[in-house]
Amino acid sequence: MHNRYSRQELFLKEKQPFANKHVLLVGAGALGSALAEMLVRAGIGRLTIIDRDYVDWTNLQRQQLYKEQDAQERLPKAEAAKKRLEEINSDVFISAVTADGGPEELSALMNAHLPDLLLDGTDNFETRFLINDLSQKYNVPWIYGACVGSQGISCVIVPGETPCLACLLDVLPAEGMTCDTAGIIAPAVQMTTAIQGAEALKILAGRWEEVSRELVSFDLWKNTYSSIKIASLKKASCPSCGKEASHPYLSEANRTRTAVLCGRDTVQVRPSEERAFNLSQLALTMEQHGTKVKTNGFLLSAIVSGKRIVLFQDGRMLIHGTKNTADAKKLYQQLLG
């Protein structure tokens, strides 16, 4: 009998405390890849991964689950991650969801199988504020993590106890400081996920007294590290965790239809209501009109009006080579009405 967990058990002084735990991981980019691999190797029972993107060559420098073939085939990240993770530890039940994690999609996942922990592997504040509200509504802790350049930041948010993200940040920060403008090095990812991952293991093992209640940040290039006690920032009037919380980010109305993707000269356009597309049918129609189209079963890609477009089954489209959301919307409507 193999005992792959012997070293971990030696440290924890406990046998497989994670075997029945379920984690919902939002985002399977750089942070998400590293977090997923850590948890799967640690032997959690179930991992649900939701991601809206596919593997691109610019991801390979830091998104550790993906390989060249995934980029060549433009596999959805959630699917490529699941494949790799099952090779690492076949005991873990992994479900992959390729969708834009909005209020509806994430609430459905919470209702289907309530996780013990929500993990932030996203690249934008809009989704983080949504995770923050879900955490409060469903009373499930979450761990904020983000990185850019050589910097990273992390914080554990425990409903009913610690301040929440909305207490710490009264406004949604402008998305000026993402990997789009500053780039990112892989060690900043690894350091951020090392902090998130350690806190995740503590929570999943039920070692609550050990869980950090501080906001941690670092800069690996400048060699600085700081940790701030944030208990005093909890606000009784907070719209997400206060006495009269309304969970504003759970409302679909607060969701944008277009988003510029982090680190990519790319705009995502979502349909205003859920649509299911028959990609092979659409590919056929487009080819009849003289457009060269590629499909891999999960998505369709083509060059339209000089721009590379990628369409997912759920009707989302990524339009590459632009940051102009108005232009992107126009192109979307031209193609799909």
Partner: protein, 67 residues
């Protein structure tokens, strides 16, 4: 003056020794940050009126969005 920022000894010269000027020195003015001075979090609206003095220990945490 000599202060400790995020655990590192730094020498800074500020026209006026306030926290808001210190943030500007590090190009962090107006960014989403939490500032702690000598173990106490300084509310946003007090950054301009809080002085920095020699020997202070300042922690500046900047919220970033990437990942």
């Amino acid at each position: 003056m000599n202060i400790v920022i995020n655990g590192k000894h730094e020498q800074v010269a500020l026209s006026e020794p306030t926290l808001i000027n210190l943030l500007a020195e590090y190009s962090l003015q107006g960014k989403s940050v939490i500032v702690e001075a000598n173990g106490q979090i300084v509310p946003k609206d007090e950054l301009a009126s809080t002085n920095v003095k020699d020997g202070d220990r300042i922690e500046i945490v900047q919220f970033v969005g990437g990942g």
